[in-house]
Symmetry: C2
Subunit: 185 residues, 2 copies
Amino acid sequence: MSLPHAILTALLEKPSSGLELTRRFDKSIGYFWSATHQQIYRELGKLEAEGFIRTLPAAQPARGQKKSYEVLPAGRAELARWTAAPQDPKTLRDPLLLRLRAAAVVGTAGLEADLRRHLELHRRQLAEYQEIEKRDFPPDRDAPEDRLRHLVLRAGIDLETFWTQWLTHALAEFAGLPGEGRDRS
Amino acid sequence: MSLPHAILTALLEKPSSGLELTRRFDKSIGYFWSATHQQIYRELGKLEAEGFIRTLPAAQPARGQKKSYEVLPAGRAELARWTAAPQDPKTLRDPLLLRLRAAAVVGTAGLEADLRRHLELHRRQLAEYQEIEKRDFPPDRDAPEDRLRHLVLRAGIDLETFWTQWLTHALAEFAGLPGEGRDRS
DNA sequence: GAGCTTTATGCAACTAGTTGCACAACCAGC
DNA sequence: GCTGGTTGTGCAACTAGTTGCATAAAGCTC
């Protein structure tokens, strides 16, 4: 149950409407927790019902009407509670690894091309993160919040680095595989 | 939709009953694609209905009765198709990173202890993978299937290595954070 | 042979997330 | 002043995965 807390964090950083949140989930927050606008609207409704957020005064009636939310003290408390509460690490769960294992049984035909595509995508993502790092975290900035946010970005950078390296290694292995191993279905 | 294909792979490696599959998903396959016995039984039913697998002759009636499955040619073809079909890389999605970002807003109190726990768990997992590597992939083995399976294990090892390093780094950052940054809710 | 535990199979309900669509208001251009 | 795209909000249905429980048979223990 992370989405409500992702939204609380985003709203604490800056009160927003559903659409604004959606946009922010397409950028910064979405880099490690993506969400569609439907999920966000549904969750905003629940959070309001639970008394964790409320709509800012101003206009609120009817559809097609911009509605901005802000976090109430109960919401902040809930977020603090959740942040501190122990949670088990996510277990690894990746279809790509499954496909590799399947390839050991049915042959690697076709898989290689998709591996190349993945490599390219991860390289691009890595470049994008590095761009953000250069822009948002110059060496002199070191307020506590910046340090924590930088740490999160570092995780993204290091993960993309891992994937590009691993995929490169995998493709090298493929190249060394005997021809008959590459398709035997 | 990876579970059916995980099961097909497992059954191609060795025909099994639901319980045997469950056990294998608790070990090797489960390292990168976990599944509960309920998921497995449900999926076996579907795969059989679709004509991808069938029960081995022998005993098959009633509950509490062992039922073994084997893959039919259609199942193998489907697995080969799926393995070669392009799929987008999984997007990063980790509650831990979210909690770190939340901590930038509500303070890091409590989070540090859980980070330490994660570090310990990842270290343990890493040791386990390295143990498997030593046991199952001695330097002289290099049949194509072994190479591919080794590659998958390598991904696990490298990912756990990444997490231990990143968590170590994160904890070092926490230590350097000013006291007031550690809890301001 | 009555009861207890283990092995093996399975249903049903729930939670989280995705996809597809609907609809209202506003803002152009003509 | 209507037509057509864009912005903003939302419902409903579906898919994947989890949790909790039910049940049947086999074996063991006294």
